[in-house]
């Protein structure tokens, strides 16, 4: 059977994604070193802040691009409870039996319902919360001083969630047609079915 190829990730998608990925990785590394108090704090802090701003601008780029080009549909359209349950069943049962993924990415709908739900939470809750708390930690308004520990608590906990997400994301990206198919897709834009 001939393989189907779809161009699903445009260059802005890929550029955004890889900038985001590398920056988040850098933020996690510098953040945890800062948090656990080793290394040159001043340098670490500089890189953490710089990467934080890169992610912030990258996020804004993603948001504008998504709204302008209508990419929001990937996250909100075509999702159903049935689809979500189907996807959960696949990841928890079907995948071990060698069944095919019930979802097939197309340029019109590139995220399966479970992915869409997870990314909605990531991009509309976790990343903004982390960004806002990060900005507050960077420059705390005088009247907010007393909330500093709470802000730090939220920032730090979300960091753990993001790291857990990142690990899960890296793993689930191996569940494509081949182990590296999804990685390749995010590099070239083309996905094979």
């Amino acid at each position: 059977m001939a393989k189907e190829r779809h161009y699903i990730y445009t260059w802005p998608d890929r550029l955004w994604h890889w900038i985001h990925a590398l920056s988040i990785l850098g933020l996690a590394i510098t953040g945890f070193i800062i948090h656990f108090g080793s290394g040159d704090l001043k340098t670490l802090r500089f890189w953490h802040n710089l990467l934080g701003f890169i992610v912030a601008f990258d996020y804004l780029f993603w948001l504008v691009h998504m709204l302008v080009y209508g990419n929001l549909r990937h996250y909100v359209r075509g999702n159903s409870w049935q689809g979500i349950l189907q996807q959960i069943r696949y990841y928890t049962v079907g995948i071990f039996r060698g069944e095919r993924n019930p979802f097939h990415a197309t340029p019109q709908k590139r995220l399966n319902p479970l992915q869409a739900l997870a990314y909605l939470g990531l991009m509309f809750v976790l990343v903004p919360v982390q960004g806002i708390t990060g900005l507050l930690l960077w420059r705390v308004p005088a009247s907010w001083d007393r909330y500093l520990p709470v802000i730090a608590e939220v920032h730090f906990f979300v960091a753990y969630l993001l790291v857990a997400f990142l690990i899960g994301h890296l793993y689930l990206a191996t569940t494509g047609v081949t182990v590296f198919a999804d990685y390749k897709a995010m590099l070239t834009g083309w996905i094979e079915e």
Partner: protein
């Protein structure tokens, strides 16, 4: 001046040799020479004065002790001046219910007269002690014998608690057991009547601070009756210190003063040149007599020898407070790594500042005091000031000592002269935030370079103190203590060649201006172990004595059961390290013995008394500049690693720990770790998020402990889940 000094040199050894030493170390003669650290500038000279006695007659004719009330009161308002806190010492705030109102049962005022402190360990006796059913422990005479060598007279040393002059009250009006007229005779363990008419009262000692060649040492001896004197006499103490000026030749044991006729004009006026009255001296050197140690000829000027450091001034005892502009490296003190300490003891001392520059008076013309709105110049005329100079000197933001709460925050802060936000500090990340959260002293007073007291064990004290006074207790600090030091090798410091290592401050948040949010401040902290009862009141010393000791032939000997549990080396005595409550058996026995003395629910309490380190400011090149000093796991701020403060190198079994202040109620301040009892300020700093500074015990941020744990579990579960999932995929035979 020279003649007076020679006289002092000659007189003091003579009178000392006549005194009864009884094996005690008496201050070396040169240490009784009046303190003067620098030549006085020539300025406005004080006019010649007549020295008058209590009846207003020239002393040269009557031979009575000089009365400052009458002498200085000729031009200055004595009552106005002595109503300030240096003289009142809490007397004016006395309230039998003060302790109940301020969560400090057993204290009766906010000052040294009435409030419990760590040293000496004693309880003042409330006027209604019989009704309250508390022990009579310290009467006003006890306080006079113990504290009057530093406290400058008047207030409780002149008046009873009803405001009557102590030596002028008819016998018929004195009630039995009135703590102003009765005292605890410690050796006999009896409450005895004190004869104020015989001892006289201590009027304010104006000479102490205004006469450069006045001898505080002789005044002290005269007060408590040691050295050349055999019994206390308060009324003549002020005159006794004038021996070093040559005006006074001798003070007899019964208080008669022999004046030098050559020093007086026929009308009783002191001839020019015999008595210097100096405002200049009072600006700095006078304060150093009690509050700090100056450096004279390269040596830190403490009054007495190391073995009796209990009697030296409070600035050293509490916070290693050396005030000098000389380089530490130039000191003749045996200080560790001295060569590297090539900066002054304090940059402000180097700049020539005096105490008054920051601790100004409320009404000195041109003087500046700190206010919540910033520094304010006093709008007062000179004539007004001469008549009524207000001696309520500016005070800062003490945690423990609040002798005059109405004058707190009036000393100048760094910010009153330096604008750290606008000038310099550009290298500092989050400059504004740092300056808002951290006091200047955290970086600019990085270390104390002298020694201070560290820990007192009052839970099982020594029954017989070294005592300057033979029958009561001795001078300030002469309580029956077991104590240790921080900042010098050897504990206690018995060897005058002991290497002085200095110590790192401990950090506590404190609001440094009224209404301002707390900032982290460096402190020197002394710790003490006490017994408290069910009311939270420290168990009175007399009860502790009776609980642990038997009186045998006038001596207090440890009870056999106490020796059995505490006397590890079986030498019949309890050494300092044996007296530490580090085993459940010791605690259980002590509780049983205290309960037998009527103490309800006794508990061991570990108390911290912090004294702020605002002096000892180093040049900016030597200030803390590395972020990692504070923002790292072994943080300076949390006193970890090399900054750790070991209170006792044993695991003390205290049940409560706290800072001695109602501002920090219910916050524990110590923990036992690796068999040691160490300072722990992590709960005090719970409102701070110090990035990178992991707290002891939890090895994370205290406020993040559970979230941190949850986050780690979450990440771990993710990894474990993935591993199982991947394994399942492999076993399931899926190729991809």
């Amino acid at each position: 001046m020279k003649r007076a000094l020679w006289l002092a040199f000659l007189l003091v050894p003579l009178v000392l040799s006549a005194g009864e030493n009884r094996g005690r170390r008496i201050p070396a003669p040169e240490q009784l020479v009046p303190l003067q650290t620098r030549p006085l500038k020539k300025g406005i000279q004080h006019p010649p004065i007549k020295l008058l006695d209590e009846d207003g007659r020239p002393v040269i004719r009557t031979g009575k002790p000089v009365s400052t009330r009458k002498t200085c009161g000729q031009c200055h308002d004595y009552d106005f001046i002595t109503h300030s806190f240096h003289f009142q010492q809490g007397y004016d705030h006395w309230d039998n219910d003060w302790g109940t109102k301020h969560h400090e049962p057993g204290s009766y005022s906010d000052g040294m007269f009435g409030r419990q402190y760590d040293y000496p360990y004693y309880h003042m006796t409330p006027t209604d002690w019989k009704r309250r059913g508390v022990d009579f422990e310290y009467g006003t005479p006890n306080w006079a014998l113990q504290c009057a060598i530093c406290h400058t007279g008047s207030g409780p040393l002149e008046y009873d608690r009803q405001g009557r002059r102590l030596d002028q009250i008819p016998e018929s009006e004195i009630q039995e057991g009135d703590p102003d007229f009765y005292w605890w005779h410690r050796k006999a363990d009896k409450i005895l009547r004190w004869d104020w008419k015989q001892s006289g009262v201590r009027e304010a000692n104006c000479f102490l601070c205004h006469t450069p060649n006045y001898s505080k040492g002789i005044q002290d001896m005269r007060t408590v009756g040691v050295g050349m004197f055999h019994r206390p006499h308060f009324a003549s103490a002020n005159a006794a210190g004038l021996i070093s000026t040559g005006i006074v030749k001798k003070v007899t044991d019964d208080g008669r003063v022999v004046y030098n006729p050559r020093a007086f004009e026929p009308d009783g006026t002191v001839k020019p040149g015999w008595l210097t009255i100096s405002g200049e001296f009072a600006r700095l050197d006078a304060c150093l007599q009690c509050h700090a140690a100056p450096v004279v000829d390269g040596k830190v000027k403490i009054w007495y020898n190391y073995p009796v450091v209990r009697t030296i001034n409070r600035g050293i005892l509490r916070k290693a407070f050396v005030w000098s502009g000389e380089n530490i490296s130039d000191s003749r003190e045996n200080i560790a790594n001295k060569d590297q300490l090539n900066y002054p003891w304090d940059v402000h001392a180097r700049a020539g500042l005096t105490c008054l520059d920051c601790h100004d008076m409320p009404n000195r013309p041109g003087g500046v005091r700190s206010t919540p709105q910033g520094p304010e110049v006093q709008p007062v005329t000179f004539s007004q000031f001469i008549k009524q100079p207000d001696h309520n000197f500016g005070i800062g933001h003490p945690i423990t000592w609040k002798v005059a709460p109405e004058h707190m925050y009036t000393a100048k802060r760094c910010e009153d002269c330096h604008n750290a936000l606008e000038k310099g500090h550009d290298w500092l990340p989050e400059k504004e935030l740092h300056l808002r959260k951290v006091s200047c002293e955290v970086c600019h007073v990085p270390q104390a370079h002298y020694w201070a007291l560290n820990f007192f064990n009052f839970a099982l004290p020594k029954p017989e103190p070294f005592s300057l006074h033979r029958e009561a207790k001795g001078a300030c600090g002469e309580a029956p203590q077991r104590y240790t030091f921080v900042g010098a090798q050897g504990d206690p410091i018995e060897d005058s060649t002991a290497l002085i290592t200095g110590f790192y401050p401990l950090y506590i948040p404190r609001n440094l201006k009224p209404g301002e949010e707390p900032r982290i401040m460096p402190y020197s902290v002394t710790f003490s172990l006490h017994w408290i009862d069910a009311r939270g009141e420290r168990v009175r010393f007399r009860r502790i004595l009776r609980a642990f000791f038997n009186r045998v032939d006038g001596n207090w000997d440890p009870k056999p059961e106490v020796l059995q549990v505490f006397d590890a080396n079986h030498n019949g005595w309890i050494e300092d390290d044996e007296a530490l409550f580090d085993t459940p058996e010791k605690v259980a026995l002590a509780k049983k013995l205290l309960a037998a003395q009527g103490v309800q629910d006794p508990k061991l309490e570990l108390v911290a008394m912090p004294f702020s380190l605002s002096h000892g400011v180093v040049p900016k090149e030597h200030a803390v500049r590395s972020c990692e000093e504070c923002h790292a796991p072994n943080s300076r701020i949390f006193n970890q690693g090399k900054y750790e403060r070991v209170i006792v190198d044993r695991p003390l079994l205290f049940e409560v720990s706290r800072i001695y202040s109602e501002d920090y109620l219910g916050i524990p301040i110590a923990r036992v770790e690796n068999g040691k009892t160490v300072w722990d300020n992590s709960r005090l700093l719970a409102g701070y998020h110090l990035v990178g500074a992991l707290e002891p015990e939890t090895h994370t941020y205290r406020h993040l402990y559970w979230l941190d744990l949850l986050g780690k579990v979450l990440v771990l579960l993710t990894i474990v889940g993935i591993l199982f999932h991947a394994l399942g995929r492999l076993l399931g035979g899926r190729k991809s």
